[in-house]
Protein backbone atom coordinates (compact mmCIF):
# COMPACT_ATOMS: atom_id res chain seq x y z
CA UNK A 1 0.00 0.00 0.00
CA UNK A 2 1.45 3.34 -0.94
CA UNK A 3 0.92 6.26 1.37
CA UNK A 4 0.37 9.62 -0.21
CA UNK A 5 0.92 12.81 1.67
CA UNK A 6 -2.08 14.32 -0.05
CA UNK A 7 -2.16 17.79 1.40
CA UNK A 8 -4.56 19.00 -1.20
CA UNK A 9 -7.24 16.96 0.58
CA UNK A 10 -6.12 17.67 4.14
CA UNK A 11 -5.98 21.41 4.47
CA UNK A 12 -3.80 23.02 7.08
CA UNK A 13 -5.54 25.29 9.54
CA UNK A 14 -4.69 27.50 12.49
CA UNK A 15 -6.03 26.21 15.77
CA UNK A 16 -5.48 27.12 19.40
CA UNK A 17 -6.39 24.07 21.48
CA UNK A 18 -6.45 26.07 24.71
CA UNK A 19 -8.15 29.20 23.42
CA UNK A 20 -9.92 31.03 26.20
CA UNK A 21 -11.81 34.23 26.91
CA UNK A 22 -14.11 33.44 23.97
CA UNK A 23 -17.75 34.39 23.45
CA UNK A 24 -20.10 31.69 24.76
CA UNK A 25 -20.59 28.80 22.31
CA UNK A 26 -18.21 30.29 19.76
CA UNK A 27 -16.06 27.15 19.97
CA UNK A 28 -18.73 25.13 18.14
CA UNK A 29 -18.90 27.69 15.35
CA UNK A 30 -15.13 27.46 14.87
CA UNK A 31 -15.33 23.67 14.57
CA UNK A 32 -18.19 23.90 12.05
CA UNK A 33 -16.08 26.21 9.91
CA UNK A 34 -13.37 23.54 9.76
CA UNK A 35 -15.87 21.01 8.41
CA UNK A 36 -16.56 23.31 5.48
CA UNK A 37 -12.96 22.74 4.34
CA UNK A 38 -12.63 18.95 4.72
CA UNK A 39 -13.63 16.07 7.00
CA UNK A 40 -10.08 16.04 8.41
CA UNK A 41 -7.84 19.07 8.72
CA UNK A 42 -4.27 19.45 9.93
CA UNK A 43 -2.84 21.70 12.62
CA UNK A 44 0.91 22.18 12.29
CA UNK A 45 3.38 22.06 15.17
CA UNK A 46 3.79 25.54 16.64
CA UNK A 47 4.87 27.34 19.83
CA UNK A 48 6.50 24.21 21.22
CA UNK A 49 3.30 22.20 20.83
CA UNK A 50 3.15 19.20 18.47
CA UNK A 51 0.92 19.14 15.40
CA UNK A 52 -2.20 17.00 15.08
CA UNK A 53 -5.23 16.37 12.92
CA UNK A 54 -8.79 17.43 13.68
CA UNK A 55 -11.77 15.28 12.70
CA UNK A 56 -14.21 18.03 11.78
CA UNK A 57 -17.05 16.10 10.12
CA UNK A 58 -19.49 13.83 11.95
CA UNK A 59 -18.74 10.78 9.78
CA UNK A 60 -15.01 11.11 10.43
CA UNK A 61 -15.51 11.48 14.19
CA UNK A 62 -17.74 8.39 14.37
CA UNK A 63 -15.38 6.37 12.15
CA UNK A 64 -12.50 7.05 14.53
CA UNK A 65 -14.56 6.45 17.69
CA UNK A 66 -15.80 3.11 16.39
CA UNK A 67 -12.43 1.55 15.51
CA UNK A 68 -10.00 1.18 18.44
CA UNK A 69 -7.81 -1.17 16.40
CA UNK A 70 -6.88 1.64 14.01
CA UNK A 71 -7.18 4.48 16.53
CA UNK A 72 -5.68 3.92 19.97
CA UNK A 73 -6.72 5.62 23.18
CA UNK A 74 -3.23 5.35 24.66
CA UNK A 75 -3.04 9.09 24.09
CA UNK A 76 -6.25 11.15 24.25
CA UNK A 77 -5.05 14.75 24.48
CA UNK A 78 -3.92 15.87 21.02
CA UNK A 79 -1.12 18.06 22.35
CA UNK A 80 0.13 15.27 24.66
CA UNK A 81 0.98 12.41 22.25
CA UNK A 82 3.29 10.60 24.69
CA UNK A 83 1.64 10.96 28.08
CA UNK A 84 3.31 9.94 31.33
CA UNK A 85 -0.01 9.46 33.06
CA UNK A 86 -2.53 6.66 32.70
CA UNK A 87 -6.24 7.24 33.19
CA UNK A 88 -8.14 4.01 33.59
CA UNK A 89 -10.05 2.88 31.55
CA UNK A 90 -10.20 5.82 29.14
CA UNK A 91 -6.60 5.39 27.96
CA UNK A 92 -6.70 1.61 27.60
CA UNK A 93 -7.50 -0.24 24.36
CA UNK A 94 -9.42 -3.46 23.93
CA UNK A 95 -9.15 -6.23 25.02
CA UNK A 96 -8.12 -4.94 28.49
CA UNK A 97 -10.51 -2.03 28.05
CA UNK A 98 -13.38 -4.44 27.51
CA UNK A 99 -12.55 -6.21 30.78
CA UNK A 100 -12.64 -2.94 32.72
CA UNK A 101 -15.94 -1.89 31.14
CA UNK A 102 -17.54 -5.21 32.09
CA UNK A 103 -16.52 -4.63 35.70
CA UNK A 104 -17.70 -1.02 35.75
CA UNK A 105 -20.90 -1.46 33.76
CA UNK A 106 -23.22 -2.66 36.57
CA UNK A 107 -22.68 0.61 38.46
CA UNK A 108 -23.68 2.78 35.52
CA UNK A 109 -26.54 0.95 33.82
CA UNK A 110 -29.89 2.78 33.75
CA UNK A 111 -31.47 0.54 36.39
CA UNK A 112 -28.62 1.09 38.86
CA UNK A 113 -28.50 4.83 38.25
CA UNK A 114 -32.20 5.05 39.03
CA UNK A 115 -31.45 3.77 42.53
CA UNK A 116 -29.26 6.80 43.20
CA UNK A 117 -32.03 9.19 42.24
CA UNK A 118 -33.56 9.89 45.68
CA UNK A 119 -30.29 10.92 47.31
CA UNK A 120 -29.17 12.88 44.28
CA UNK A 121 -32.49 14.71 44.19
CA UNK A 122 -32.35 15.48 47.90
CA UNK A 123 -28.85 16.94 47.59
CA UNK A 124 -29.92 19.00 44.57
CA UNK A 125 -32.77 20.50 46.57
CA UNK A 126 -30.45 21.26 49.51
CA UNK A 127 -28.05 23.10 47.21
CA UNK A 128 -30.81 25.19 45.63
CA UNK A 129 -32.38 26.09 48.98
CA UNK A 130 -29.03 27.58 50.06
CA UNK A 131 -29.42 30.43 47.59
CA UNK A 132 -33.08 30.40 46.51
CA UNK A 133 -33.85 33.50 48.60
CA UNK A 134 -30.79 35.44 47.47
CA UNK A 135 -30.76 38.16 44.80
CA UNK A 136 -27.84 36.65 42.87
CA UNK A 137 -26.11 33.31 42.64
CA UNK A 138 -22.65 32.33 41.45
CA UNK A 139 -24.06 29.40 39.48
CA UNK A 140 -20.81 27.46 39.10
CA UNK A 141 -19.52 27.80 42.69
CA UNK A 142 -22.87 27.35 44.42
CA UNK A 143 -24.43 24.73 42.17
CA UNK A 144 -22.78 23.41 38.99
CA UNK A 145 -19.47 22.46 40.64
CA UNK A 146 -21.02 21.16 43.87
CA UNK A 147 -23.72 18.91 42.46
CA UNK A 148 -21.52 16.51 40.42
CA UNK A 149 -18.96 16.44 43.22
CA UNK A 150 -21.64 15.07 45.54
CA UNK A 151 -22.61 12.45 42.94
CA UNK A 152 -19.00 11.27 42.60
CA UNK A 153 -18.77 10.86 46.34
CA UNK A 154 -22.03 8.87 46.42
CA UNK A 155 -20.78 6.58 43.68
CA UNK A 156 -17.64 5.67 45.59
CA UNK A 157 -19.26 5.70 49.02
CA UNK A 158 -16.96 8.51 50.18
CA UNK A 159 -17.79 10.09 53.54
CA UNK A 160 -19.75 13.32 53.22
CA UNK A 161 -17.47 14.94 55.82
CA UNK A 162 -14.80 15.04 53.10
CA UNK A 163 -17.04 16.99 50.69
CA UNK A 164 -15.50 20.39 51.44
CA UNK A 165 -12.01 19.00 50.90
CA UNK A 166 -13.09 17.60 47.53
CA UNK A 167 -14.51 21.00 46.60
CA UNK A 168 -11.13 22.60 47.36
CA UNK A 169 -9.38 20.01 45.21
CA UNK A 170 -12.01 20.37 42.48
CA UNK A 171 -11.40 24.12 42.37
CA UNK A 172 -7.63 23.75 42.18
CA UNK A 173 -7.77 21.11 39.44
CA UNK A 174 -10.62 22.45 37.30
CA UNK A 175 -10.29 26.19 37.75
CA UNK A 176 -6.57 26.70 37.42
CA UNK A 177 -5.99 29.61 35.08
CA UNK A 178 -3.12 31.70 33.82
CA UNK A 179 -3.52 34.10 36.79
CA UNK A 180 -3.99 31.85 39.81
CA UNK A 181 -1.89 28.90 38.65
CA UNK A 182 0.09 29.84 35.53
CA UNK A 183 2.20 26.69 35.31
CA UNK A 184 -0.58 24.40 36.59
CA UNK A 185 1.66 23.24 39.44
CA UNK A 186 -1.21 23.90 41.88
CA UNK A 187 -3.52 21.72 39.78
CA UNK A 188 -0.94 18.91 39.57
CA UNK A 189 -0.30 19.10 43.31
CA UNK A 190 -4.04 18.82 43.96
CA UNK A 191 -4.22 15.75 41.73
CA UNK A 192 -1.42 14.13 43.74
CA UNK A 193 -3.32 14.96 46.93
CA UNK A 194 -6.50 13.38 45.56
CA UNK A 195 -4.54 10.32 44.51
CA UNK A 196 -3.00 10.04 47.98
CA UNK A 197 -6.41 10.37 49.62
CA UNK A 198 -7.74 7.61 47.37
CA UNK A 199 -4.74 5.37 48.14
CA UNK A 200 -5.25 5.83 51.88
CA UNK A 201 -8.95 5.15 51.50
CA UNK A 202 -8.39 1.97 49.50
CA UNK A 203 -5.94 0.68 52.10
CA UNK A 204 -8.33 1.54 54.94
CA UNK A 205 -11.18 -0.29 53.18
CA UNK A 206 -9.02 -3.34 52.60
CA UNK A 207 -7.91 -3.36 56.24
CA UNK A 208 -11.44 -2.94 57.63
CA UNK A 209 -14.16 -4.49 55.44
CA UNK A 210 -16.87 -3.07 57.70
CA UNK A 211 -16.16 0.29 56.03
CA UNK A 212 -17.44 -1.06 52.72
CA UNK A 213 -20.96 -0.30 51.65
CA UNK A 214 -22.87 -1.09 48.47
CA UNK A 215 -20.66 1.17 46.36
CA UNK A 216 -18.32 0.93 43.41
CA UNK A 217 -15.13 1.18 45.46
CA UNK A 218 -16.17 -1.69 47.75
CA UNK A 219 -16.77 -3.91 44.72
CA UNK A 220 -13.59 -2.75 42.98
CA UNK A 221 -11.41 -4.03 45.84
CA UNK A 222 -12.20 -7.56 44.63
CA UNK A 223 -11.94 -7.03 40.90
CA UNK A 224 -9.66 -9.20 38.81
CA UNK A 225 -8.48 -8.84 35.25
CA UNK A 226 -7.04 -11.92 33.55
CA UNK A 227 -7.12 -13.70 36.89
CA UNK A 228 -5.00 -11.02 38.61
CA UNK A 229 -6.42 -8.72 41.29
CA UNK A 230 -6.42 -5.07 40.27
CA UNK A 231 -3.73 -3.20 42.13
CA UNK A 232 -4.15 -0.24 44.48
CA UNK A 233 -2.38 1.94 41.92
CA UNK A 234 -4.81 0.86 39.20
CA UNK A 235 -7.74 1.65 41.50
CA UNK A 236 -6.26 5.07 42.23
CA UNK A 237 -5.98 5.74 38.48
CA UNK A 238 -9.52 4.56 37.98
CA UNK A 239 -11.01 6.64 40.79
CA UNK A 240 -8.99 9.67 39.74
CA UNK A 241 -10.41 9.32 36.26
CA UNK A 242 -13.97 8.91 37.56
CA UNK A 243 -13.46 12.06 39.64
CA UNK A 244 -12.28 14.08 36.66
CA UNK A 245 -14.62 12.53 34.09
CA UNK A 246 -17.84 13.36 35.87
CA UNK A 247 -16.99 16.72 37.34
CA UNK A 248 -16.11 19.35 34.79
CA UNK A 249 -18.23 17.72 32.09
CA UNK A 250 -21.45 17.80 34.09
CA UNK A 251 -20.65 21.20 35.61
CA UNK A 252 -20.04 22.61 32.13
CA UNK A 253 -23.23 21.10 30.74
CA UNK A 254 -25.29 22.46 33.64
CA UNK A 255 -23.76 25.90 33.20
CA UNK A 256 -24.24 26.12 29.45
CA UNK A 257 -27.81 24.80 29.79
CA UNK A 258 -28.78 27.33 32.42
CA UNK A 259 -27.04 30.11 30.50
CA UNK A 260 -29.20 29.14 27.54
CA UNK A 261 -32.39 29.03 29.59
CA UNK A 262 -31.56 32.32 31.31
CA UNK A 263 -31.14 34.01 27.93
CA UNK A 264 -34.00 32.23 26.12
CA UNK A 265 -37.21 32.90 28.06
CA UNK A 266 -39.41 30.93 25.64
CA UNK A 267 -37.47 27.72 26.20
CA UNK A 268 -37.27 28.38 29.92
CA UNK A 269 -41.02 28.89 30.18
CA UNK A 270 -41.60 25.65 28.26
CA UNK A 271 -39.73 23.79 30.95
CA UNK A 272 -41.58 25.57 33.75
CA UNK A 273 -45.02 25.01 32.22
CA UNK A 274 -44.41 21.52 30.86
CA UNK A 275 -41.87 19.65 32.98
CA UNK A 276 -42.68 16.43 31.07
CA UNK A 277 -40.47 17.69 28.23
CA UNK A 278 -37.44 17.85 30.51
CA UNK A 279 -35.90 14.51 29.38
CA UNK A 280 -36.24 15.67 25.77
CA UNK A 281 -34.86 19.09 26.68
CA UNK A 282 -31.85 17.47 28.34
CA UNK A 283 -31.16 15.53 25.13
CA UNK A 284 -31.57 18.57 22.89
CA UNK A 285 -29.27 20.61 25.15
CA UNK A 286 -26.70 17.81 24.90
CA UNK A 287 -27.01 17.85 21.12
CA UNK A 288 -26.66 21.63 20.93
CA UNK A 289 -23.81 21.97 23.44
CA UNK A 290 -21.44 19.00 23.09
CA UNK A 291 -18.72 20.32 25.36
CA UNK A 292 -16.30 17.44 25.36
CA UNK A 293 -13.51 16.67 22.97
CA UNK A 294 -11.08 13.82 23.14
CA UNK A 295 -8.41 12.33 20.90
CA UNK A 296 -6.92 9.21 19.44
CA UNK A 297 -3.55 8.15 18.09
CA UNK A 298 -3.34 6.55 14.64
CA UNK A 299 -1.95 3.03 15.01
CA UNK A 300 -0.86 2.39 11.41
CA UNK A 301 -1.10 4.33 8.14
CA UNK A 302 -4.74 4.32 7.10
CA UNK A 303 -7.59 6.46 5.77
CA UNK A 304 -10.33 8.34 7.54
CA UNK A 305 -13.25 9.67 5.49
CA UNK A 306 -11.07 9.00 2.44
CA UNK A 307 -8.13 11.02 3.74
CA UNK A 308 -4.71 9.43 4.37
CA UNK A 309 -3.47 9.59 7.95
CA UNK A 310 -0.10 8.40 9.24
CA UNK A 311 0.90 6.13 12.10
CA UNK A 312 1.58 8.13 15.24
CA UNK A 313 -0.53 11.13 14.27
CA UNK A 314 -2.89 12.44 16.94
CA UNK A 315 -6.46 13.19 15.95
CA UNK A 316 -8.53 15.66 17.94
CA UNK A 317 -12.12 14.39 18.18
CA UNK A 318 -14.64 17.05 19.07
CA UNK A 319 -18.02 15.49 19.90
CA UNK A 320 -19.93 18.34 18.25
CA UNK A 321 -19.75 17.50 14.52
CA UNK A 322 -22.27 14.64 14.62
CA UNK A 323 -24.98 16.46 16.59
CA UNK A 324 -24.34 19.97 15.32
CA UNK A 325 -24.45 18.67 11.76
CA UNK A 326 -25.80 21.27 9.37
CA UNK A 327 -26.61 18.59 6.77
CA UNK A 328 -28.92 16.80 9.21
CA UNK A 329 -30.07 19.87 11.14
CA UNK A 330 -29.94 23.05 9.04
CA UNK A 331 -30.65 24.99 12.23
CA UNK A 332 -28.19 22.95 14.26
CA UNK A 333 -27.26 25.81 16.57
CA UNK A 334 -30.87 26.40 17.59
CA UNK A 335 -32.10 24.72 20.76
CA UNK A 336 -35.46 23.30 19.70
CA UNK A 337 -37.22 21.10 22.24
CA UNK A 338 -39.61 19.84 19.54
CA UNK A 339 -37.12 18.16 17.22
CA UNK A 340 -38.60 14.79 16.17
CA UNK A 341 -35.21 13.07 16.12
CA UNK A 342 -32.40 14.12 18.43
CA UNK A 343 -29.24 12.33 17.39
CA UNK A 344 -25.82 13.26 18.70
CA UNK A 345 -22.50 11.89 19.91
CA UNK A 346 -22.12 14.21 22.87
CA UNK A 347 -21.24 11.19 24.99
CA UNK A 348 -18.91 9.86 22.30
CA UNK A 349 -19.40 6.63 20.37
CA UNK A 350 -17.76 3.26 20.11
CA UNK A 351 -16.36 1.24 23.02
CA UNK A 352 -15.32 4.31 25.02
CA UNK A 353 -18.74 5.97 24.89
CA UNK A 354 -19.23 7.71 28.17
CA UNK A 355 -20.11 5.08 30.75
CA UNK A 356 -21.52 7.82 32.96
CA UNK A 357 -24.02 8.97 30.35
CA UNK A 358 -27.10 7.73 32.20
CA UNK A 359 -25.87 9.21 35.47
CA UNK A 360 -25.14 12.49 33.75
CA UNK A 361 -28.61 12.57 32.22
CA UNK A 362 -30.12 11.92 35.64
CA UNK A 363 -28.19 14.82 37.14
CA UNK A 364 -29.21 17.16 34.34
CA UNK A 365 -32.86 16.12 34.51
CA UNK A 366 -33.07 16.44 38.30
CA UNK A 367 -31.35 19.84 38.18
CA UNK A 368 -33.81 21.18 35.60
CA UNK A 369 -36.78 19.77 37.54
CA UNK A 370 -35.88 20.98 41.01
CA UNK A 371 -34.48 24.36 39.97
CA UNK A 372 -37.52 25.38 37.91
CA UNK A 373 -39.93 24.28 40.63
CA UNK A 374 -38.39 26.93 42.87
CA UNK A 375 -36.78 29.46 40.52
CA UNK A 376 -38.78 29.72 37.29
CA UNK A 377 -37.46 33.22 36.49
CA UNK A 378 -33.81 34.22 36.30
CA UNK A 379 -31.49 36.17 34.04
CA UNK A 380 -27.76 36.53 33.47
CA UNK A 381 -25.96 39.37 35.23
CA UNK A 382 -23.80 41.29 32.75
CA UNK A 383 -24.48 38.88 29.90
CA UNK A 384 -21.84 40.42 27.58
CA UNK A 385 -19.09 39.71 30.09
CA UNK A 386 -19.68 35.94 30.10
CA UNK A 387 -16.85 34.06 28.38
CA UNK A 388 -15.92 30.47 27.69
CA UNK A 389 -12.71 28.46 27.69
CA UNK A 390 -12.03 25.60 25.30
CA UNK A 391 -9.50 22.76 25.61
CA UNK A 392 -10.75 19.25 26.31
CA UNK A 393 -14.02 20.42 27.86
CA UNK A 394 -15.50 23.68 26.64
CA UNK A 395 -17.01 25.60 29.52
CA UNK A 396 -18.35 28.94 30.57
CA UNK A 397 -15.90 30.67 32.90
CA UNK A 398 -18.32 32.39 35.25
CA UNK A 399 -22.09 32.66 35.41
CA UNK A 400 -23.78 35.01 37.81
CA UNK A 401 -27.54 34.71 37.68
CA UNK A 402 -29.97 37.34 38.86
CA UNK A 403 -32.76 35.80 40.93
CA UNK A 404 -35.94 37.84 41.28
Amino acid sequence: MTVQNDRARCPVVEWDYLQGGCPVNSGFARISELAEKAPIVEVEAANGLPGYLIAAAGEAVVEVFQDPRRFSSNAVIPIEPDPEYLMIPVMIDPPDHTAWRKLLAPFFVPSRVQMLEPRIRARCVELIEEFADDDFVDFIQMFAAQFPNFVFMELLGLPQKDFEQFMVWENRIMHADSVNDPDRSGAREAMVEVSTYLGDLINARRADPSLNGDDLLAAALHWEIDGKPVTTEELQNLCMFLFIAGLDTVAAQLTVSFHHLATNPKNRRRIVEDPDIIPQAVEELLRAFPNVSTGRKVVADTEVAGIQVKAGQMILLPTSPAGRNYATYPDADVVDFDRPVIRHTSFGAGPHRCIGAHLARLELRVALEEWHRRLPEYTVDDVDAVTEHTGSTFGIDNLRLVLP
Partner: protein, 63 residues
Protein backbone atom coordinates in the same frame (compact mmCIF):
# COMPACT_ATOMS: atom_id res chain seq x y z
CA UNK B 1 -41.23 -4.84 10.43
CA UNK B 2 -38.12 -6.86 11.28
CA UNK B 3 -35.42 -5.22 13.37
CA UNK B 4 -31.79 -6.29 13.60
CA UNK B 5 -29.36 -4.96 16.19
CA UNK B 6 -25.66 -5.21 15.37
CA UNK B 7 -24.40 -6.39 18.76
CA UNK B 8 -20.82 -5.35 17.94
CA UNK B 9 -21.98 -1.81 17.34
CA UNK B 10 -24.45 -1.54 20.23
CA UNK B 11 -22.60 0.29 22.98
CA UNK B 12 -25.41 0.72 25.47
CA UNK B 13 -26.25 4.37 24.80
CA UNK B 14 -29.88 3.30 25.42
CA UNK B 15 -31.20 6.13 23.26
CA UNK B 16 -33.46 3.64 21.45
CA UNK B 17 -34.91 2.58 24.81
CA UNK B 18 -35.34 6.22 25.79
CA UNK B 19 -37.41 7.07 22.71
CA UNK B 20 -39.20 3.71 22.28
CA UNK B 21 -39.03 1.72 25.52
CA UNK B 22 -41.56 -0.94 24.56
CA UNK B 23 -39.79 -1.71 21.29
CA UNK B 24 -36.25 -1.72 22.70
CA UNK B 25 -36.03 -3.40 26.10
CA UNK B 26 -32.57 -3.39 27.68
CA UNK B 27 -30.71 -6.26 29.30
CA UNK B 28 -29.05 -6.02 32.73
CA UNK B 29 -25.89 -4.64 31.18
CA UNK B 30 -27.72 -1.80 29.46
CA UNK B 31 -27.61 -3.16 25.88
CA UNK B 32 -30.60 -3.88 23.65
CA UNK B 33 -31.99 -7.20 24.82
CA UNK B 34 -32.50 -8.70 21.36
CA UNK B 35 -30.56 -9.24 18.17
CA UNK B 36 -33.61 -9.78 15.97
CA UNK B 37 -37.18 -8.79 16.63
CA UNK B 38 -40.48 -8.72 14.80
CA UNK B 39 -42.30 -5.47 15.45
CA UNK B 40 -46.04 -4.78 15.13
CA UNK B 41 -47.16 -2.32 12.48
CA UNK B 42 -48.49 -0.14 15.30
CA UNK B 43 -44.93 0.22 16.63
CA UNK B 44 -43.43 1.15 13.26
CA UNK B 45 -42.88 4.84 13.96
CA UNK B 46 -41.50 4.22 17.46
CA UNK B 47 -39.14 1.58 16.07
CA UNK B 48 -38.04 3.97 13.32
CA UNK B 49 -37.37 6.69 15.88
CA UNK B 50 -35.10 4.28 17.72
CA UNK B 51 -33.20 3.48 14.53
CA UNK B 52 -32.71 7.16 13.72
CA UNK B 53 -31.63 8.12 17.21
CA UNK B 54 -28.90 5.49 17.68
CA UNK B 55 -25.50 7.25 17.67
CA UNK B 56 -23.80 4.04 16.50
CA UNK B 57 -26.31 3.31 13.71
CA UNK B 58 -26.47 -0.16 15.18
CA UNK B 59 -30.14 -0.87 14.32
CA UNK B 60 -31.50 -1.74 10.90
CA UNK B 61 -34.90 -2.77 9.59
CA UNK B 62 -36.40 -4.74 6.74
CA UNK B 63 -39.98 -4.20 5.59
Amino acid sequence: MKLTVDKQKCQGHAMCAAVAPSVYPLDDEGYVAFEHAEVDESDRSAATLGIETCPEQAISATT
